[in-house]
Amino acid sequence: MAQMTMIEALRDAHDVAMEKDDRVVVYGEDVGYFGGVFRVTAGLQKKYGKSRCFDAPINEAGIVGTAIGMAAYGLRPVIEIQFADYVYPAIDQIVSEAARLRHRSAGDFTCPIVIRMPTGGGIFGGQTHSQSPEAFFTHSSGLKTVVPSNPYDAKGLLLAAIEDPDPVIFLEPKRLYNGPFDGYHDRPVTSWKKHPLGDVSDGYEPIPLGKAAIRREGSDVTVLAYGTMVYVAEAAAEESGVDAEVIDLRTLLPLDLETIVASVEKTGRCVIVHEATKTSGFGAELMSIVQENCFYHLEAPIIRVTGWDTPYPHAQEWNYFPGPERVGEALKKCMED
């Protein structure tokens, strides 16, 4: 075991996967020589050579499209989109091609690729460095969507994603790259180096996709969260006096229905928290699933705390970001009924 930041854990996952399997190739914008704008791929080109880790032209459709061709050949591309906000030029390749290749060819061709992208706000990223586009991917059949919230999960989930025989969208909350963040932007940031979840196992230890983790056990209300919102929800639970059970979904698709249902049946209440905009966001799907599966156990309406239905602003960052105060209010409101 070693104490790592999320960046170091992700880099280590790449290293382990590349060492283990010659078919793993890593590329994207600034990913090669420079080691990535967030340092996730630092040192990989030096260790594995330019044919395994290399810089790509600034063309997201090209990065994803070539990876699909490589996967059809038999490689295991792990590619990076510099910010999730810039994935849209590649949406055709992801949704029309990667997601459907196995189905449309009846398994003649498959697409075992991982598309990594830093996601989320809370960093004064403004409109195009803060988005959370997960709902675009969960809505597309044929894709798996993963959002880790800590170094330990980041490494294990990335290893599982690379090993997965199907395309995986791997969203990395960049606000959590160096340390956990509970939404208190005016307090000093702590590092993962002092956090139990920064303790990352050496070697190859994948964490199965499709399994949620209960971060805080509670009996009053179930909070469904992922990414940065896990820490916001934990802080809100501590401060509001509501004994919330905080579930970190980790994988949005496939979703761990059993863990969600067991928790809501126990608490009878549910609050859903995500950074992404509200309308048709992933929270709407979670809300439907809880309503369909736990209707007779619900004691109050399900509440969503999300980003507003606006583009992500710059100056108004903390009015937009669903912080512990807003989540805490929702927890209390949920207990009123």
Partner: protein, 413 residues
């Protein structure tokens, strides 16, 4: 301040084809270089030293049916007869499937009429293990590789033996074994995937090459640009084929081409070796394809080939070309018909005859009809034995996730 009177009001330029329905076809703008006029450069030529080849047209067969010039002479009479057979088989197949769609046996079909040489001649330039990334109009790649006609028809009929289990629109074939990548309805996507496949071959130290395919209209897609950038940057072992059949449904090629001289010329900006070839000349297509494949296999980099041809049929069974182009245009097309031209050449060199041709035509049609009967015995769309509805839930992922299992059960399967 600029004096407003200096400038006339600006006007938008919207290119128009030379003729519309009712007009007399006019291809006078289309220069047909003499067969044999374009020299064959060494495969290791610097792309900069063959720039004029993107503006001329490599042609081997002249009006008299003789094979002339540097690009001639690579095929034996037996190979030429195989080529003729491939093209005739594809045309017979098209005719029957077009008809089957009209009879309601399938929902949709797309013919290759007039473009048979492009895919048939190219296919025979590749080796086993190479991979094509075709569009929906290169079934000759399969025909020339002896992919079973019955299997193609089963796919078109979406019957119980459809290798794609009824999931795909007719003609969107897939055959990894025959080097034919799964066809997608989304245009241009496969062009850049071909480059990725070629990069993978290079990364793996392999000797296999890829071939990408795109139509004239789809070169306007962003993925065309992406493919060219990646092919150029990584010197990928790929042959990038543009099939310029003059039409993208109802839109003439000038709308996609804009002010540039040719589609092949687009390769120059990327430093890619770029050639135009007579797409209705089986010998020329095959020779240029072999040249480009050799370049790729020797690690000399990508080649862009513009196959100049004419879409003689409708865009698809859902299309009526008489609504936007002259009915006589196909007959006026200066590069003629690929089957007629190869037939004439074979007769000229004493390796074929009109009698043998008629006999072959009848035999190939019999072969197609026999296959059609076999496929229809299994089923057609909406008749006979179809794929299981349960199957549509399979293969979305390798292992069916719980939510799909629940939906499958909900659907009653």
């Amino acid at each position: 301040m600029t004096d407003d009177k200096t400038y006339q009001p600006l006007a938008l330029n919207v290119p128009e084809p030379g003729c519309r329905p009712g007009d007399t076809p006019d291809f006078s703008y289309f220069e047909v270089p003499r067969a044999g006029a374009v020299a064959r450069p060494a495969v290791d030529v610097d792309p900069d030293d063959m720039r004029e080849m993107a503006f001329s047209i490599v042609r081997v067969l002249n009006k008299e049916g003789e094979a002339v010039g540097d690009w001639a002479g690579a095929l034996t009479p037996e190979e030429l007869r195989e080529g003729l057979r491939d093209m005739m088989l594809l045309r017979a197949f098209d005719a029957r499937m077009q008809n089957a769609q009209r009879q309601g046996k399938t929902s949709f079909y797309m013919q290759h009429l007039g473009e048979e040489a492009v895919s048939c001649a190219f296919s025979r330039a590749l080796q086993d293990g190479d991979m094509n990334f075709p569009t929906y109009r290169q079934a000759g790649l399969l025909i020339a590789r002896d992919y079973p006609l019955v299997t193609m028809m089963n796919q078109i009929y979406s019957n119980a033996d459809d290798p794609l289990h009824g999931r795909q629109l007719p003609i969107m074939y897939s055959s990894k074994e025959r080097g034919f990548f799964s066809i997608s309805g989304n245009l241009g996507t496969q062009f850049v995937q071909a480059v990725g496949w070629a990069m993978a071959s290079a990364i793996s130290g392999d000797t296999k090459i890829a071939a990408g395919w795109i139509g004239d209209g789809s070169t306007a897609e962003s993925d065309f640009h992406a493919a060219m950038v990646f092919a150029s940057t990584y010197n990928a072992p790929v042959v990038l084929n543009i099939v310029n059949n003059q039409w993208a449904i109802s839109t003439f090629q000038g709308i996609a081409r804009g002010g540039v001289g040719t589609f092949a010329a687009r390769g120059h900006g990327f430093g890619i070796a770029s050639i135009r070839v007579d797409g209705n000349d089986y010998l020329a297509v095959n020779a240029v394809a072999k040249w480009a494949a050799e370049r790729a296999r020797l690690g000399l980099g990508p080649t862009l080939i513009e196959h100049v041809t004419y879409r003689a049929g409708g865009h698809s069974t859902s299309d009526d070309p008489s609504a936007y182009r002259s009915a006589d245009e196909g007959a006026a097309w200066p590069l003629g018909d690929p089957i007629d031209r190869l037939k004439r050449h074979l007769i000229r060199i004493g390796e074929w005859s009109d009698e043998r041709h008629s006999q072959a035509e009848a035999e190939l049609m019999d072969q197609v009809i026999t296959a059609q009967k076999e496929a229809e015995k299994i089923g057609t769309l909406g008749g006979g034995k179809g794929p299981s509805p349960r199957d549509m839930f399979e293969g979305v992922f390798e292992k069916m996730p719980p939510h799909l299992i629940r939906q499958r059960q909900e659907a009653g399967y």
